[in-house]
Amino acid sequence: MGRRLVLGMLGLGVAGVATARYVQGGLESFLGAAADKDPTGLTGLLPNGGGFRYYSVTSSVPDRSAADYRLTVDGLVTRPATYTLDALRALPQTRLVRDVQCVTGWRVPGTPFAGVQLSRLLDAAGVRPGAGAVRFTSFDGAYSESLTLEQARRDDVLIALSMQDKPVSHAHGGPVRLYVAPMYFYKSAKWLSGITVTQKVERGFWEERGYDIDAWVGRSNGREDHPTS
């Protein structure tokens, strides 16, 4: 009888794995709707309960304010530059509203991001011949990401200053983060502090640990999510 309980749980587990794709969709929309009306925020803790999850690869990340934040652009460029937060704010802003898809499965629908198109900073710096990629570094001291030059010049790649129509908070990678709309969210490096134009793509933090470099949503990392951009 006890044995039957054990086997019953195993059977339920296998059935759950097999039927997940049918159950999951319904559950997600139900919980998403419930989360909108839930004042306690507890639904956010349920699996697929909607909302963002906080991931950091280091134990703590320093705070940067408008006073001490700096973004450097260097590498294979003719005019290396350093931007303050105010300087970035003074540039033309682009606002995009797309879904955010994490490679671990969660998705947040219709999230507004706004900021400066990366291509604008690259043009201002003057990319030198022979350059093929862009490397991003973070002031958390550990995270890094890369895009090919072609990917970096897409008009849906932003140096984001606002997220959900508010300044990017520290937890979400503020004051400035990268936003690569068509790719899994690990490409959108938080706490962005450096943009370096390089010859070839260098693997970023998670890519050293097995994630795909060309992280198109729905076409990489063995996943079949709906494209976000």
Binding site: V6, M9, G16, A18, L46, R53, S56, T58, S59
Partner: protein, 192 residues
């Protein structure tokens, strides 16, 4: 053995919370390290039980947990009605038997789905998505059930002393597990 299992389970639950609850994730960070600890503790979870199989007393206990007697039904009915009497039980009451079976099965499912998520090349994408789904939801259930298990233990100091030292006092055993002694008569007396 119970202590090792409990520590491993505790480590799994704590690291799971850090991976899952945004506030904890924010406080701890170090995602890669936390993932490693979670994976390793999860993989080791069944080891103490497997080693325990070498002990005859442990196998006898497994036999007791596996065998449901008619009086177990009485015990469960009384417990579900939240009444005190009658609660006939041997060394393990019916609640403990149900818990043991459920948690053993759940742990195996968590282990299986966890391994599929860990070694991504083992299974196609549909199976991995399903595994993530089951692992997420079952973890919630396991968390609640284990919390209940700990809650019951907190309420019963004699049972806790029994787990720690291996013996309980006679009046407690006669009150809480009245059929323990008759059970001993028809079971082989091992090295307990």
């Amino acid at each position: 053995m119970h202590r090792t299992t409990a520590w491993l389970m505790g480590a799994c639950v704590v690291t799971a919370a850090v991976l899952y609850v945004p506030q904890f994730a924010e406080a701890v960070g170090r995602r890669e390290l936390v993932v490693r600890v979670h994976e390793i503790c999860g993989a080791l979870l069944p080891v103490p039980v497997l080693l325990g199989l070498a002990s005859r007393a442990f196998r006898a206990d497994l036999g007791r947990l596996n065998r449901f007697h008619p009086y177990d039904r009485t015990w469960l009915r009384t417990a579900l009605r939240r009444e005190r009497e009658p609660r006939p039980s041997g060394k393990f009451n019916a609640g403990q038997k149900v818990y043991a079976g459920w948690i053993a099965g759940a742990a195996l499912v968590m282990l299986g789905t966890g391994l599929l998520m860990w070694f991504t090349h083992l299974a196609p994408i549909e199976v991995r998505i399903g595994s993530t789904f089951v692992h997420d939801w079952l973890s919630l259930a396991v968390g609640i059930v284990v919390a209940g298990h700990v809650w019951m233990a907190i309420g019963d100091p004699v049972a806790r002393r029994g787990m720690r030292t291996g013996s309980v006092d006679r009046p407690w055993a006669e009150r809480e597990h009245p059929l323990w002694e008759p059970e001993l008569d028809d079971a082989p007396r091992g090295d307990e």
